[in-house]
């Protein structure tokens, strides 16, 4: 099992650091799925994020030819902290090593005033996940949604949801095909609804689906507000594209695109 990768471009390095910081905010441990073409961060099968074009060099060899992938468990904060020291780095190398225990060694060459360079090495302990558990960590299939809608500015959404959290843990998300999204909380004493209008809906996947559904009809999902907030809190930069797919009473699926990194976040409905 082998893995070696290198980043030399400052912008890519920055981006990779931001992704890892976002992951660190979302969960304590994350699983790294290394396959020949890409690197995915998987968080307790709720989120998967893929990143491909960061690396100038990428070599890997999985467990076997048929199962050419590597699954590693690590503490997300370690990776994020390691990458933070790469602010002014000339180059960054990541490789899988075995120093007393399996590690992901992140080696950063820093720019230095003097002629000699400085090297920072971080050995992040990882746990290799056996093949029999791989099926739990596959990319989730995206279900057919009832309504698909573009999200408003995430920062605005976050500040609203933060205030709502103080009142109730149970949030109702509903949206329709006319570009309207509502966030509702209902308690004995009070009902609060925030209406977002004119958000726009992405073009439907198939022709039939859009014709069947009346545009005014809301698809609603009841979710735990804390899960929604955790997702929103991890977004530091506004994504290039942010879509929310709702399957009535089943699941909320967030599909974000940050330049070339895609992030899928699923929140199941409260039973």
């Amino acid at each position: 099992m082998k893995f070696r990768a290198k980043i030399v471009d400052a912008a890519c390095l920055n981006h990779f650091t931001r992704v890892s910081t976002m992951i660190a905010k979302l969960a304590k441990t994350c699983t790294l799925r290394i396959s020949p073409e890409k690197l995915n961060f998987v968080l307790s099968d709720r989120v998967a994020s893929g990143g491909e074009n960061f690396f100038s060099e990428f070599q890997m060899e999985g467990i076997s030819a048929e199962n050419n992938a590597i699954y590693l468990d690590l503490t997300a904060e370690n990776l994020s902290r390691a990458l933070k020291t790469a602010q002014n780095a000339r180059a960054l190398k990541i490789k899988l090593t075995n120093k007393h225990f399996p590690c992901l060694t992140v080696s950063i060459e820093l720019l230095s005033v003097s002629s000699s360079s400085r090297v920072v090495t971080h050995d992040i302990p990882v746990k290799v996940i056996p093949r029999k558990l791989w099926k739990d960590l596959q990319e989730p299939t995206i279900p057919d949604s009832d309504v698909s809608i573009y999200l408003p500015v995430l920062k605005t959404m976050k500040s609203i949801v933060e205030k709502m959290k103080n009142i109730s843990n149970h949030l109702i998300m509903e949206a329709n095909l006319s570009g309207e999204l509502n966030l509702k909380i209902e308690t004995e004493l009070v009902c609060i609804t925030t209406h977002f209008k004119d958000l726009g809906n992405p073009p439907p996947a198939s022709e039939d689906a859009s014709q069947e559904r009346p545009p005014e009809q809301m698809a609603e999902v009841h979710v735990d507000i804390r899960k929604l907030l955790q997702f929103l809190a991890g977004q530091q930069v506004n994504p290039t594209r942010a879509v929310c797919n709702l399957v009535s009473n089943k699941i909320v699926h967030f599909d974000l695109l940050h330049e070339d990194v895609s992030l899928q976040y699923f929140i199941p409905a409260l039973s």
Partner: protein, 390 residues
């Protein structure tokens, strides 16, 4: 005693107090002929810090009123620190600081003359004490490295603020290596991340040490002096010897000098692999404990006379004694436990019967320790990057 500090020096004094507060809870103030000395030691006696401000540092310096003996006092660090709590405020508003102590009053008076005619007077109660002395001499340490504080500040940046210990040593190619030190834990299911910083020789003003030497000391305590050195833009020098012997960190300029003496982990407690990676340097020799032939001599000495206890001084003049005895022995048991034998532990073990995983010896205070039975640790394994099965 009466001293008057003005202008930018007030902030320097404040910064020094902040540094000292990272080490101990009590501040020993002693006006000497060659300046005002501020000293402290930590509770486990494994770290000692002292700043000496030359008379020229002050606008006015009077060690003792004529005819009287110089007074020494010990005050609570917390109280003294409160005077200089906010350095930003001190810098902006304080014009003069007057510290005075006279035999009649029972208080150390610190008076801050601030802008707009505001005067803040702090009356700090103190205890009479004997001089706090430590036995150390940088000249006796075979290894020295010196660099601008900025370089060392950048070197410790990748390490988490919570990290307790760090190993400093010379690796292959005469590179200075700083590596996070992790204690072996009994249930090591969750391993910690290991960070290593490697700096080239060229960044150092002086590097007098061979490849393979290394010491492990408390990073938190070191950061205290480092932040002072960075703010004063001074060079910091590290004088060290074999593992187990104290390391001396020093800063100096024309008006002041500061010394932090920190205990280091001894050979038998080191668990981290050798600093030279075997990729380049097959089987770098593990650090050899320097045999101390005079150890036996000390063991048979009268413990009482050898001891330089905390609160007594042989020389009542108070000048910082340049010790004629070399750095105390310590690491190799067995030493006959004397009446003062105590285990000075950096982190006392809570389980009875289980020997603590490491001991910082308070060598420079001359205490003799009971024989240590370190738990059988793994033999030092050299780091090897194998790309085999993870």
């Amino acid at each position: 005693m009466k001293c008057l500090v003005t202008g930018g020096n007030v902030k320097v004094l404040g910064k020094a107090v902040h540094s000292l507060s990272r080490i101990g809870d009590e501040l020993y103030l002693e006006p000497l002929e060659d300046g005002l000395s501020l000293r402290t030691v930590n509770s486990s006696r494994s770290a000692y810090a002292c700043f000496l401000f030359a008379p020229l540092f002050f606008q006015q310096y009077q060690a003792a009123t004529s005819g009287q003996e110089a007074l020494r006092c010990k005050i609570l660090m917390k109280s003294f620190l409160a005077v200089f709590r906010s350095l930003a405020t001190v810098e902006k508003t304080v014009e003069k600081c007057c510290i005075s102590l006279n035999g009649r009053s029972s208080c150390l008076v610190v008076q801050l003359h601030c802008k707009y005619g505001v005067r803040k007077t702090h009356n700090l109660s103190f205890q009479d004490c004997e001089s706090l002395q430590a036995v150390f001499d940088p000249a006796l340490c075979p290894h020295v490295l010196r660099a601008p504080a900025r370089v060392l500040g950048e070197a410790v940046l990748p390490f988490p603020p919570a990290l307790a210990e760090v190993t400093l040593g010379i690796g292959c190619g005469r590179r200075v290596i700083l590596r996070s030190y992790q204690e072996e834990e009994a249930d090591s299911t969750v391993k910690a991340m290991v960070t290593e910083m490697s700096i080239g020789e060229e960044d150092f003003q002086q590097l007098q040490a061979q490849e393979g030497v290394a010491i492990t000391f408390c990073l938190k305590e070191f950061r205290g002096l480092l932040s002072f050195a960075e703010s004063a833009n001074l060079s910091l020098s590290v004088h060290f010897d074999a593992p187990g012997r104290p390391a001396i960190f020093a800063v100096k300029d024309s008006l002041l000098d500061g010394h932090f003496v920190l205990a280091t982990l001894s050979e038998s407690d080191l668990h981290s692999p050798a600093l030279c990676s075997p990729e380049l340097h097959r089987l770098a020799p593990p650090l050899q404990a320097h045999s101390t032939p005079h150890l036996d001599d000390f063991a048979s000495d009268d413990i009482d006379s050898y001891m330089i206890a905390m609160e007594t001084t042989a020389d009542s003049e108070g000048s910082r004694a340049v010790p004629s005895i070399p750095l105390s022995p310590g690491l190799r048991p067995p030493c006959s436990p004397g009446p003062f034998s105590e285990d000075h532990e950096a982190e006392p073990s809570t389980e009875p019967g289980t020997p603590p995983p490491k001991k910082f010896r308070s060598l420079f205070f001359g205490s003799i320790l009971a024989p240590v039975h370190s738990p059988p640790g793994p033999s030092p394994v050299l780091a090897e990057d194998s790309e085999g099965e993870g």
